[in-house]
Each structure stands twice: as structure tokens, then as C-alpha cells.
Amino acid sequence: MKDKTFDRLLTAVLIIGSISVIALLVYTELLRRDVSIISYIANGR
């Protein structure tokens, strides 16, 4: 694989991976604001 191609793929994986982490954290925070105490306990262990 050419270095340029590798760099592009690496950049793409980093961007997509970072977006997935940020999206998951934002989604988690939105859920946290609204969760009921009963659901929170039921979802735990």
C-alpha cells in the first residue's frame, strides 16, 4: 500500500473513530439528564 493511501486510510479511521466516541458521549449525557431513578437502578447490577 502506498504511504499516501495508508495516510488517508489512517486519517479516515481516526476521524470516524473520534466521531463515534464523541457521539456516544453526547448521547450518554442526553440520556443521563432524563433517566428516571427506577430505570437507572433496573439497568444496573
Binding site: M1, F6, L9, L10, V13, L14, I16, G17, S18, S20, V21, L24, L25, Y27, T28, L31, R32, D34, V35, S36, I37, I38, S39, Y40, I41, A42, N43, G44, R45
Partner: protein
Amino acid sequence: MKKLTKQLAVLIGLALGFAAFDAAVYCNVTRRYINSTSPEMQSKSIEVSRYVPFDANAELVQSDAKMTLTGDIPVIDGAAAVLPVYAAFVQAVYPPESVQFDGDAYAPESAMQYTNTRGAYQSLAEGKADIVLCAKPSAEQAAYAAEQGRELVYEPVAQEAFVFIVNKNNPVDDLTADQIRGIYAGEIRNWSEVGGRHLPIDAVQRNAGSGSQTTMLGFMGGTPMKRDPLSFFGSAIGYSFRYYVAGIVQNGGVKMLSVNGVYPDPEHIADGSYPVTGEVLAVYDKRNDNPNIPILLDFMRSEEGQRIIAESGYTPVSTTE
């Protein structure tokens, strides 16, 4: 070829690393916050549309009361945990035309309102509600009412158990009242100290001003409550009113604990053996001269009113006096 293998290993490893991180966050954090209730219950603590007076599909106790209020109909409001009760009272003695529900919320001119405990006490203080059914107000709510010139009167109309809930898989079934106070004071931090697994205790609390939070503060008797942020990864304990847990939400993922060896069922609330009970109060302003307020209070405490309370799943005051 060797270089290509290395490049692919880096790309695949990185992608798998992100996926593993996301999966770990989802399983350990995100999943804990997913509501298992409907969006309506999520936003309003209760599915209001199930308890609309005069609605043919309402899940309310029917009454054969022979009277209907006339004249100045009192605006009634209250807590989520007792909405089935006061909605049944409204259906029993209010004229149908006094209730206007648009499918999502009560119209501002409706004599039946639902704004939950914090909203109800605010409405009472600001003169928008004439009578509310709630647990005791917080110190701030009582002070706000006094600032607004209200002199609140509290009339007990039902008894309700204040219950402690844990995940259904938690092996602990019983705690003493002192152990619960110790947990919320931050003195008991691990379930193994009270006969459970070796897991931190996540002592969750409700929002300030909610009926259950005010009741819990009273139960603690002035001892400040603490929650260790790291206990998030442990197993949680929380609190609410019995009927809200067992009759309204009915989430099979939680169970109620016995306290001092007594389970919070209606029999043990009625005979006084369950040690943590609270009163459902009808609260109004002493200076409110609406003539229907005493009539409504008399009905709530009458044999028929107490039958509505019992059949709605609560404990009448008459059986505990």
C-alpha cells in the same frame, strides 16, 4: 508484503480499539441511563393520559358519589405518585365540563391540573391551584408559600409507604433503618457490609423539591447525604413511594426492600408495622375562602373517599388511626 501487513495491522487495530472503547462505554455507562419507560413517563414521571378524569379509557377507580360540586370549582394539582387518587376524586365529584385535557396536558383553565410536586406547590403558592395532594413540602417550598402570603394547612388523606429499591439481582432483601441511614450518610459504602456482594453502594438521590427527596431528608433526620461518584460502577439503591414503584411504573428490574424485616405491602402499612411511612396530604391556603374546599376535603375523608384511596392502591387514613 511485510509493510502492507504492518499497515493493515495498524488500521485494523485502531478501528478495533475505537470499537472496543465504544462498547465498553456503552456497556458500563450508557446502558445504565436508558429509560425503560415511555417518553411521556420519562418527561412527566407518569403517563398522564392513563389517568384523565371522565375519559372512557382512564384507569381510575369508579365512584357512585351522589354529589357534584357546583359554583367555584377548586383547581386541584398534585404529585405524580398520587395522580390516580386525585384524578379519581375529580371524576367522582367535579362536573365533567370543569376538566379540559388536550391529549397531552391539561388546559390552563381546567380545574384538574398535573404539574408534579414542585409545580403543584409553586402553583399553590402563586394562587394558581386551590388544593394540592402531595407529600410534605420542602423547607424552600414552604418558605416560598409563606413569602407569597399563604398559610398552608395540611390534611392527611392517605398513608403511603416510603420504600427503598435495588436491582432485582441484588441478593440483599432487607436492611435496617439504621443501615439505610448509614448508606446515605456515606458510612456504609460496600454491599458486603450489609450481607451483599463485594460491590460499592451507589446511593442515588432524587431531585431537590420532589416529594420523595423531601421525605428522605426527613428520614435522615438532618444527617447530610453523600454519594461517592466512583460508586457509579457498583450497585445502586434508591427510594420512592410504594405505589409509584409497584402500581404505576411496575419495572420488573427493581425490587423493594424490607425494612427492619418488614416488607412494604398494604397489610404492613395499614397495621403500622412497616416503619417508614409518609402521609399523603391535601394542602390548601387557610385564607382561601372557596366554599368547595371543605366539601372536597370532607369527601376525601369520607367512607367513599377512603374507599377510592384503598382501591387506588393506597392505605386509607381511617384504617391507621
